[in-house]
């Protein structure tokens, strides 16, 4: 055979295994008699599983019944979904008053609407939107969920939340239709786009104050009935605990990680000690400590409700795990990045905030999302200390008289629900990774 090719070699078609399904099957599933048998056995096992699940869960299942006995009258082998359906409101909202459920739904809807602009590339001012969600949304949602008389502080924050929300929505529409930001649009509308910077700023500030006053006077007459936190439950409670847990444990974790790597001995020792102590204790212990021991150490008359204690415990516990993840991310950043940042004169916070953290967090997205998923699932532990979160609700179905002993179906339903939530989070994290690493390889 010649070593040197004199002429350009012509391209040949790829082998059949690369191009057709049949070829792929033959290579991968039926390449030898042993593999063929294995394939057939596996197909049979898959068939048994799917047909069994289908028969139990759908074909033989009962969807309409008033009590468990009626399910048995219909079919002895099928699932009794009627019990789950009868309890759906409880599973999602706990014992929240039925006529007030719109408030919970509204809270969820507001959050989704608030976040939508973050995913639209044409909308401007994403950082401000993100900040407004964290600063104002919790108060608006908090008021929606708890209701009652508003304190002055609450009035103020609720007004701020409405203002931020409306501006955010208007800004999105303007971004979508006119591809500009809201402040520029407003200034053009009143013919001041050429005015000096200071005038522009004063006009915008005036508009903000004016709309704040208007919204304030409108919202002050808006009062919803008080609902005690003890009525909260189900998926709603799970999402409240884990939502607050996620939103606060990441920032807290970042500061703990920075603290652990700090040059200042006091900061370093305190952060390290805090992380190690909370990480070495099981979550359930932390929860028990927070709800039973913590009040003993407090002065007489001091009272925090159990839900707040639980949330604080979950946040602190999870922040330690976040801190270790962030620290791992920080350690993956080459020393040259710090030096590069120093040579253009950035100080500690500038270096961390602009150069190091964005890279470290990006590297750690899979771990951070993994931790968030873990947190969501861990919050089901609060059912042990007497909060009726989704797991607590699912388990109480079996103690409800008409559905006595109904364990399997509620738990399967809960598993499906958790899978849907966690799987979509993990899918979203993959998407985020792909988006952030586009054109950005080392």
């Amino acid at each position: 055979m010649a070593i040197i090719t004199q002429q350009k070699t012509a391209e040949r078609p790829a082998p059949i295994s690369e191009t057709s399904v049949l070829g792929w099957l033959r290579i991968n599933l039926f390449s030898s008699s042993f593999n063929t048998i294995l394939t057939l056995v596996m197909v049979f096992i898959v068939y048994l599983t799917i047909s069994g699940v289908l028969a139990w869960g759908y074909l033989d299942a009962t969807f309409v019944a008033d009590k468990r006995r009626e399910c048995y009258d219909f079919s002895l082998t099928g699932a009794c979904w009627a019990g789950v359906i009868a309890w759906l409101d409880n599973i999602f909202y706990g014992r929240y008053p039925r006529e007030e459920l719109w408030r919970v739904n509204m809270g969820g809807l507001l959050l989704i609407l608030w976040m939508i602009p973050l995913w639209i590339s044409r909308v401007r001012g994403k950082i401000l939107i993100g900040v407004s969600v964290i600063m104002f949304y919790p108060f608006l949602a908090g008021y929606l969920f708890t209701g009652g008389e508003k304190s002055w502080f609450m009035q103020f924050m609720v007004t701020g939340a409405f203002l931020a929300f409306f501006v955010n929505m208007a800004n999105m529409l303007i971004g979508l239709t006119m591809n500009t930001s809201m402040d520029k649009f407003l200034l053009r509308l009143i013919g001041q786009s050429e005015a000096p910077d200071k005038t522009q700023r004063n006009i915008l500030l005036g508009l903000v104050v004016l709309s704040f006053v208007i919204i304030f006077s409108v919202q002050s007459s808006w009062i919803v009935d008080g609902v005690s936190w003890t009525k909260w439950g189900g998926l709603f409670l799970t999402l409240v605990i884990s939502g607050i847990g996620i939103a606060s444990s990441l920032p807290l974790g970042i500061f703990l990680a920075l603290g652990r790597r700090s040059k200042l001995p006091v900061v370093r020792v305190l952060s390290t000690g805090f992380i190690e102590v909370f990480r070495s204790v099981p979550l359930i212990t932390v929860l028990f400590m927070a709800t039973t021991m913590f009040p003993l150490f407090m002065p007489e008359g001091f009272f925090l409700n159990k839900l707040v204690q639980v949330i604080i415990a979950v946040v602190l516990f999870n922040a330690c795990y976040m801190a270790e993840i962030v620290r791992a991310g920080l350690q993956a950043i080459p020393k040259g990045q710090f030096e590069g940042a120093h040579t253009i004169g950035l100080g500690y916070w500038g270096t961390m905030g602009l150069i190091i953290m964005p890279q470290a967090l990006k590297h750690m997205i899979p771990n951070i999302v993994g931790n968030i998923i873990g947190l969501l699932k861990d919050t089901t532990l609060v059912s042990i200390i007497g909060l009726f979160d989704i797991l607590g609700m699912l388990r109480s179905i079996s103690k409800d008289v008409p559905w006595l002993g109904l364990h399997k179906e509620p738990l399967v339903f809960g598993a499906i629900l958790f899978f849907l939530i966690c799987f979509s989070m993990s899918k979203y994290s993959r998407h985020l990774e792909a988006k952030l690493s586009a054109g950005n390889k080392h």
Binding site: E339, G439, N440
Partner: protein, 258 residues
């Protein structure tokens, strides 16, 4: 200690202002004595080239000037400010002294333009539009304005190093330090970086360059310094340095690399 410099039209300016003054400076890494009794004065507009075998302390020396490394004894005075524990002074000095690294150290998560405008916007508080204008000016000077919106990872090594030089220049530094700027580059890319550096030297920038590119040293250096084991063994004008080195150690070194 420092000789009068009469080369080129910059001579008069060069003798007037001291940019860097190092007196009896010592540095240790643990027990290891890296820099021994270093004395060096650099005037405005002077170009120094430092060479020497690896481990001789030449990189450490210029990293000390930028306060990336701490020295334990002696004084380093940069632009009239004494380096020390004072963090405010350090930040100030870093904005006055630009540095280019062997491994570029660009920020991979930012575009070229963002890499260049970050310092001016956040440290110098320059309006963004002005910062972009400055950045484009320097990108044109290093001949890659068309890459402005790409990420560092999409550029060749030579292009990345030119971006790194432009990034330093955007801070309008008074002194530029180069730490083996061409050592990590493929041979055909070394020239494009050296060309940019020669042009920069022609503008009268004060430069200290650690390099083994002897052709480059001959072209731009006012003086060449040879370091070995933490000592400045020899310093001389390029012609004298390469023509008849005084020290035996210098001769050996030059024989090996030329």
């Amino acid at each position: 200690m420092s000789e009068q410099i009469n080369t080129g039209q910059l001579a008069s300016a060069a003798t007037s202002e001291q940019m860097i003054e190092i007196n009896q400076m010592n540095k240790w890494y643990g027990d290891f004595h890296v820099l021994k009794d270093i004395n060096l004065t650099v005037h405005k507009g002077e170009r120094f080239v430092i060479c020497g075998p690896s481990g001789s302390g030449k990189s450490t020396l210029i990293r000390c000037i930028n306060a990336l490394e701490e020295h334990q004894e002696g004084d380093i005075i940069v632009d009239g400010i004494k380096l020390g524990k004072n963090l405010k002074n350090l930040d100030h000095i870093r904005t006055e002294v630009g540095m280019v690294f062997q491994n570029f150290n660009l920020f991979p998560h930012l575009t070229i333009l963002e890499n260049l405008t970050l310092g001016p916007v956040w440290v110098r508080k320059m309006p963004k539009a002005d910062a972009i204008e400055t950045a484009m000016k320097y990108l044109e000077r290093v001949k890659i304005p068309e890459q402005a919106l790409k990420y560092p990872g999409q550029l060749s090594g030579g292009q990345q190093q030119r971006v790194a030089i432009a990034r330093s220049l955007c801070m309008s530094p008074k002194i530029m330090l180069f730490d083996e700027p061409t050592s990590a580059l493929d041979p055909e890319m070394i020239k494009e970086v050296l060309d940019v550096m020669v042009e920069l030297a022609d503008t009268g920038m004060t430069m200290i360059v650690v390099t083994h590119e002897m052709g480059f040293a001959k072209t731009i250096a006012d003086e060449v310094i040879f370091m070995d084991e933490g000592d400045i063994v020899e310093r001389n004008k390029p012609e004298a340095f390469f023509g008849n080195p005084e020290h035996e150690r210098t001769q050996q070194f030059l024989n090996q690399i030329l």
